[in-house]
Symmetry: D3
Subunit: 290 residues, 6 copies
């Protein structure tokens, strides 16, 4: 049987990734006795691999595909196909940033102030390339983690990843510049991407993962409205997408069903009520493919 060898990121992205697969329809079961998880799909074989090492193993063909950060593809310089973006991170459905940060009271204000300084980071190559772009010479030291602790005692600045900046603020660090924006990516080995079965399988997996990501920030909204007030209700809804308008057995009324961002519901609902919508109901979604 055909088989897609898929690397799942071990470590900080692990929990969010397993949760995402679960919502997308695949149960991946980690065993305490092995790092090879089981998955309820006989066409996929999973392997837990650190995000940092994923691109290397996908490049070599040990894996057909894998989920990692765009940052680690860049850092390792691996020749893989970035097949699709999956916009989620450890805590949020959003991109992350690698930022240049210094202690709150550091005199460093812009990249050129780094001249001759020591920078600690997990992404030595990305940092060196950033310095080269700014024409600055500085010593970049590989950090095994807990990079925030290194300033000011062990380094002058750090390049560190952040989702919301709160960990940096808690360590009283100030962001000087963004070095790289990165999202989670679904990468493929180039030979595997040229194999039509594997490519099709990968596309289906990505479709479901993206459907689950889309659903996580959206909700369904349904309501009834008299035909005469329908235009006002439509106007109150976000313009992006036409809602589904169904006929009811009472011909004076229609039912409206639509999908909207959960974040805007609190602005929309008062307007819908004002527009004479009735029986407004918000309900949760599992997946969306628009």
């Amino acid at each position: 049987m055909s088989l897609l060898k898929l690397g799942v990121p071990k470590g900080s992205l692990q929990e969010a990734t397993l949760d995402l697969f679960s919502r997308a329809g695949w149960k991946i079961a980690l065993s305490s006795r092995s790092y090879v998880p089981s998955i309820d799909d006989s066409e996929i074989e999973c392997l837990m691999v650190r995000a940092q090492e994923m691109a290397r193993y996908v490049e070599s063909g040990a894996l057909d595909a894998g989920i990692t950060g765009h940052d680690w593809v860049v850092e390792t310089g691996s020749a893989v196909e970035e097949f699709a973006e999956l916009i989620y991170a450890k805590q949020r459905l959003a991109r992350v940033r690698w930022v240049l940060a210094v202690p709150e009271d550091s005199p460093i204000r812009e990249p050129r102030d780094l001249e001759g300084k020591v920078i600690a980071t997990e992404v030595v190559r990305i940092t060196e390339s950033y310095l080269a772009r700014h024409g600055v010479k500085a010593r970049v030291e590989f950090s095994w983690g807990a990079t925030e602790v290194k300033v000011p005692q062990l380094a002058d600045a750090i390049v560190e990843v952040t989702e919301t900046g709160s960990s940096l603020r808690a360590n009283r660090l100030r962001i000087v510049d963004t070095v790289l924006e990165s999202a989670t990516v679904f990468i493929m080995n180039r030979a595997a991407a040229a194999d039509s079965w594997k490519r099709q399988k990968a596309e289906n997996v990505v479709l479901m993962l993206q459907g689950a990501i889309a659903a996580a920030s959206k909700v369904g909204l349904m309501l009834n409205v008299r035909r005469e007030h329908l235009a006002g209700v439509i106007e109150a809804l976000p313009a992006l997408k036409n809602p589904t308008i169904s006929t009811l057995s009472d011909p004076d009324w229609v039912a409206v069903n639509t999908i909207i961002e959960e974040a805007v519901v609190r602005q929309i609902l008062p307007k819908l009520k004002a527009a004479q919508a009735q029986g407004i109901v918000e309900y949760p979604l599992n997946k969306i493919v628009l």
Copy 2:
């Protein structure tokens, strides 16, 4: 920009309140480093305040609005506007009661048996007013908590809050009388309530909170039925609200969609089946504005 300063109750109501805001569409993030939570709405500034102190700070204008118990508004005698009831408590979507309770084997059977006794309570003022109404003289002592432990060694009776009575029963206490019924309330400073922007903002927040409260005890029910059996199905449904009846492409059938209390589903479903409803599906809701 306009800003609503909103007090969120710290302590026993805290978890239920943050959960309610989350379902209503606002993420409030507590920080381990500060008691000033962040909220994802630039028009609101939150402050965690004990329910007992909320009304005092809303009265003084330190806060524009706050969520607390009606009991604490009464106890502190604060001059605030009780803007809306939000029927939820620590464990349940229901009112709470302050009750007069005594040990199971106490001779105290009615309020006048309290004459000359010692009563421990967190609500001294409410208790004294209750005693005055009954023309009884007794010593009321302020209790810092764990009031149930005080009888019979340290007090003859207590006035204590209860949701279900189970904690009282576990302490082998008997309820003599209800002193005060109380619900959670959304209160406003009187000047803030007279400011149209603040009032409108508060109304929108309350609309969403009530929508989430309403949804928590209700579910959606949809089913298909032949037109000839529709009347029987309608009869099986609670009379309160007309269901939505949609036309299907097969003109002999209609679809029925309605919202009902989750607690009655187990009574309704067998009746719907008996009435020839088909494809009966119960689904969860996030919010309801009827």
Copy 3:
């Protein structure tokens, strides 16, 4: 008032059972102070009873009905009515198997190799009946639990229950044969089953439990499609059940709403998209009565 005395299984099935009742619409609250839980239905009285003892107490009439495994009905030889199957177990919505297992390197390959051996098991009667069927004589010893540890030091083989086989594999045991398949069953005392009120009440409870079990593995799917593509969309859906097709206010389009197994969504969704379905939304369900 009429009352159904219902035994709820204590122990390994307990958590799954309480969760199932919760989804079916009954809150059963265990108290740390008592083994008699409260239930929010005045027509039911619950008692926590070990699955192994359930059939005995239902047979004697101490309970009107109970939930236990078919295996324990067989093992105890109790004369009760197996009223309905409820296909769920500790970890999964599935049957369990009692299997004959031996150490991976044991010479035992088939039932007759057991001649003269020692077998440890919790189900002595079932095992003896199995041996009799195969015309084999062996010593069957009652095991109080942790039966897997008994081979090879204390027994030559075991008869043990398994859901997925993973615990047996972890103990390096090999399955030789299936001794008994078993599902969770709702059993009734024969006299109670002949009482029309009790039987009706039991039927309603079972209807709701099965509705919740059915919903747990299924999801709702709704989508819009142009009439001209409807046939293709219908073809992409599982053949089992007709979907609900509703008319929209735009006569060129229809909405399709259907219930499918969650496990097949990942196969169906790509096909639906290929068949020109639009606005495909998957949503969760609480209960299904088809």
Copy 4:
């Protein structure tokens, strides 16, 4: 090499037993992957066995020795040598009791009130023998556990084990009679007990276990005293054992060192102070062999 096959009780005694071995000088390491623990003594091989089954396997010779309750030796009627008592139980260094218990408000007051009743218990044989001694006929039903829940709904009385009685009181049960007192025992297979190496090894293990048990309830006490006050100090100490009196370089003083029950320290210390003892120090002990 010679080897003692030793059964360690799995279940309720397990934690206390492993802790006791640790204090006695043996590290027994349970593995999550196997029920055969490792022990840091090449002359011992351990096996985790339920206390209820221990005597049976020691009798058959599958084990040379084991630790279990005297109760289970009696219940299983196994022919083994009860080599030594080890006075410890799940929570305390004390014997346990199997008691006949009934609901607080039961009319059963003495054994003969059991005539014709149903008794639930884990120790059917012990209970039947107790009833025979009292010339009472009653039905004894095997209980798989949670026996306290069985009265009054499923049984009239229970025979249950208790250390302190607190679990019975919490279930509102009243103790009618003690059926059997039991301590933990170190048992040996009779052939193994006749083997001089195995017997010697068992004696050494028991010596260390008893040394650790003895130390757990005792402490060391040392103090200095002028020779003229020595008699008074000696008198304040428990009479049981002569204290060690050492000479100091200052000939007017002596040092007194003794071992006493921790429970009496709070009575002795004030008396020692009154008797002019100085520099009184209480220190912890690991093992005692007096």
Copy 5:
């Protein structure tokens, strides 16, 4: 029998107090079912009482004695006998301080800057007395807890208790002044203190508690030394207390045994080694009565 009714502080001091009693030789067992703990001394009856309320109940005679903070005796103005200091707090064996604190960037620098300001505190009476001593008029508001959150939004300054100041620093507060130093105290009702049995019992309890407190920060040190080096060794030891010097069977050597603060061991040990001490051993202590 005579009985000492003893209040044990519930809440922040509770864990440290129960631990102290355990080391002092009394087991106090909290029950989840009652706030009246059991204690293994038939001459004592315990009651869990909040530290804030302790003095009031000792004053009224509901309790003979209790453990609370000196601060709460002052705050409640209760007429009780402060029988003995027990120098321990929630985290440490030390006094606590009530301090006047303000936000780091507040203009308030000294007490008189408080004129006309709002101060939040749990100790209204202590704070008002402090203000009176400084001739300052300010509004003191009772705070139900989480007082640190109140500045700057709800109050200008706070009076709050601190052990190490770390919670204040974490909230970016600056200490302006110490308002009151306080230690844990053992208090007695005046009539009870005049009862010779109760007074004697209380003295014995205090002796043991202080013995356990003293031991917690000290260790035993023993070593051997040639007589010719004894003087040097003695000199290296803290001067406070004469060590015990015992004669050995080898007349050229003596053994030295002494009790010292654990905190100075790391300074003393290198000196002892330099002074030719041999076989230096540090051992733990349970109690000390010097």
Copy 6:
């Protein structure tokens, strides 16, 4: 004031190290808000640093001293002084080994079988040097952790650290060879080691740490014996160290006090009893400097 800048290993050694410092007499308090712990010694400033990076920062002078593994000193090739060995690891007071391991069923049996293979490891430099010693050419890939998962899918062999081998066995790996033995070491910057104050301070710290390590595996033993049996008792004790023999006020008896390995107590105690020793008491120790 003079100050020793000391690196404490963050990560797998962290817990064991903080525990060791605590037993040695220093409290190091980690703050959740900072990676710079506080230590109760004004002459030391601590910094949490990963073991892998420690030697680099000690070499550069950012730290005066640090605790890390000998392995990481070798791997990083840092020029530091290995001041003292501290024989403890994550789980045990023992050395660790970096071993070459392969899947149980791998054909690789000895180093030269690695020719042309892929080896995954965290210690690339140590592995390359090992291969060079054996004249073997293989590709060594840096592994970010979870190295055991890499065989056989991602690598042919691994070089991994192990204390007891149990993690390797659990992953069904076979050890082919030991690549490097390593203990925890206290390292110093060369300039700091030449500073007499810093060197003296470091020596004192090491003395205490080693004293605590020595005590952890040893216990004190004291006993009384009649002079006529003293020789027999002495003979039963380990020969290593002379016990302390003190004279008692009863001239016929002596007291013997000695320190022995806890692991041999179970062999010694039966012999001491046979040799007529009385009142044998084993007691715990905090620190030993022999």
